[in-house]
Symmetry: C2
Subunit: 295 residues, 2 copies
C-alpha cells in the first residue's frame, strides 16, 4: 500500500512539474519589462489552438475535484480561499476568461464580481472599502473582473485623484493583500496583455457585428488615445506590487486560446499547491449509520 502511494505520488509530481512551466514562464520577476513581452507569444506551450482546448479539457476533472475539496474545507468557516484578480486593457479578453475558465468551475464555489466605475457611495469611502466587501469566504474561489488596481490605472492615467494620493496606493495595496493572505486568501493576479493592433481589430469587430454592438462604448476609443500612458501605469503596477507573496502573472493575450489555457493553469497550480484534503467527519459515522437505518 505504501509502495502504491509512493508510485502515485511520484507520477503526480512529474505531471505537476511539467504543467507548472506555464506559471513559471509568466510570473513577473524583478526587471520585467512589459514592452519586451510579445503579446502573440505562447510561453511554455508549443501547441496550437486545438491542443490548448484539449489541454484545458484534460485538466477539468482534476480542477473539479480540487475545487470541491477546497469548498468542503470552508464549510466550518475556516480553511483557505482563492482570489483570482483579472486586469487588462479593454477587449483584452477578461470576459472570455470569466466565461471559459471561471465558467468551468462549479458555480456554488465561485464568487465573481465585476468592478465598474465606483458609485457615489463607494467614492465616499477609501478605495479599498468596496474591495474588502467582496473578498472570498473560506472555501470559495473569488474572481475579480477588474479590481483595486483600477485605482492606480484609470485613476492614474486620468489623474482622478492627486498624484500623491495614487502614489501612496501601491504600498496600501501591498499591505492589504498581505492582510488578505493572513485571512487564508491566496491571490492569483493576472494581467492580460494585448497589443494595440489587436485591440483595434477587436474593437473593429464589435463595430462590424450587430450582435457585438452592445459591447462597444465610444469611450473605448477615447481610452485608446491613452494607450502608452496605460502601459506605463501597468508597468508601475508590476514594478511596485509584484511581491514574493503576491506576484503578478502577465499573460500574452493576443491569442485568446492561449490566455484561457494559461489562466486555467494558474488556477490549477494554486489548487494543487493548496492540495486540500477532505474534512474529517465531525460526527460519529457508525452512530449515524445506525440512526439512519432505523428510519
Amino acid at each position: 500500500m505504501a509502495k502504491k502511494n509512493a508510485k502515485k505520488s511520484k507520477k503526480k509530481d512529474a505531471k505537476r512539474a511539467s504543467d507548472d512551466s506555464i506559471s513559471s514562464a509568466l510570473r513577473v520577476t524583478p526587471g520585467f519589462q512589459l514592452s519586451d513581452l510579445d503579446p502573440t507569444a505562447t510561453p511554455a506551450f508549443s501547441g496550437k489552438k486545438q491542443d490548448a482546448a484539449e489541454a484545458m479539457e484534460s485538466t477539468r476533472a482534476e480542477i473539479d475535484d480540487l475545487q470541491e475539496r477546497l469548498y468542503a474545507g470552508g464549510r466550518d468557516g475556516d480553511g483557505p480561499a482563492i482570489l483570482l484578480v483579472v486586469q487588462g486593457m479593454d477587449t483584452s479578453g477578461k470576459g472570455g476568461i470569466m466565461r471559459h475558465v471561471v465558467g468551468a468551475v462549479d458555480p456554488q464555489g465561485v464568487k465573481l464580481h465585476a468592478f465598474k466605475a465606483p458609485t457615489a457611495e463607494e467614492r465616499r469611502h477609501p478605495f479599498l472599502w468596496r474591495i474588502r466587501r467582496e473578498l472570498p469566504e473560506p472555501g470559495y474561489i473569488g474572481v475579480f473582473d477588474r479590481s483595486h488596481y483600477e485605482d492606480v490605472l484609470v485613476v492614474r492615467v486620468h489623474d482622478l485623484v492627486p498624484p500623491s494620493t495614487w502614489g501612496r496606493r501601491y504600498g496600501q495595496i501591498n499591505t492589504f493583500e498581505r492582510s488578505a493572505n493572513d485571512k487564508g486568501i491566496h491571490l492569483i493576479k493576472v494581467m492580460l496583455h494585448i497589443s494595440a493592433d489587436e485591440q483595434k481589430a477587436r474593437l473593429a469587430e464589435r463595430l462590424e457585428r450587430p450582435d457585438k454592438y452592445w459591447k462597444f462604448n465610444p469611450g473605448d476609443i477615447d481610452e485608446r488615445e491613452h494607450w502608452d500612458h496605460y502601459q506605463e501605469a501597468y508597468q508601475a503596477v508590476l514594478d511596485k506590487t509584484s511581491t514574493d507573496e503576491n506576484p503578478w502573472y502577465v499573460v500574452p493575450a493576443d491569442r485568446k486560446w492561449y490566455a484561457r489555457l494559461a489562466v486555467q493553469q494558474l488556477l490549477l497550480d494554486k489548487l494543487r499547491e493548496l492540495d486540500p484534503g477532505w474534512p474529517d467527519a465531525d460526527f460519529d459515522v457508525a452512530e449515524q449509520k445506525r440512526r439512519l437505518a432505523a428510519t
Copy 2:
C-alpha cells in the same frame, strides 16, 4: 425573404412545441396531488441517462446565445430578468442542478444565492427582506438554492412562528412574486421531488464515502422524521402559490439525470419565450468606425 423567414419561424415553432412538452408535463395544475407523482418517472422523455446527457448537450449553444442576448438587453438597466427558484427535500439534488444546469451558463450573467437559516439580522426583518435584496437585476438569471418558500416549509413544520403568521405568508408570497413580475422578473419555480427511500439511499452514501462526509449533517436524520409533515407543507405551497403568472413545476428527481434535463429545459423554454433581441447601437456606427480607423 419574407418567405424564408416564415419557413424558419415555422421550423422554430415545431421544435419549440416538441421540447415544450417536458415543461407542460411538469407544470402544476389545479387538483395536482404530490403523492400521486412517481419520483422515478421521466415525464415527456422516453430516453435513458445517456440520451438525457446528449439532449442537454444539444441545447447548450442555444441557451448560450439566448442568455447572452438577455444579458446584453440588461445593459441599459432595464429589460427582463429570470429567477430560477429551486426547492426540495435534503439530498433532492439541488446542488447537482446548480453544478450541471446553472454551471453551464456564462457565470457573468448568473447571480446564484443559497439561502441558509436566517441570521440574527435577517430575523429582525420581515421574511421577504433578505429575498428582495437578492432579486436579479435586468439581464441576469438569478438562481435561488432554497428561497422564501422555506418560510412556509421548515418554518411551518417546526412552528417557528405562530400558525397565523405562516398562514398569511402564502398570500404575501403571491403578492411579492407579482411585484417581481412587474419589475420584469420572470420566475421559474421548481420543486425537486424525491422519494423517502431515495433520500435514505443518498444519505447512506454520504455516510459510506469519506469524500461525502462534509455534506452530511446529523440534523438531516432528525428532519427525515418529519417527512410526511414536509410533504403536506409542500402540497400546501403548490395549492396556494402555483398561480397562472407564477406556476410551480414539480420535477421527479429520483433519477438525477432526468431532473437536470428537465430544469435545463424549463430554463430554455423561458429564454425562448422571452426571445430577447440584440440591443440596437446607441451610437453612430459609421462615425465610430471612422474614429477607430484614425487611431
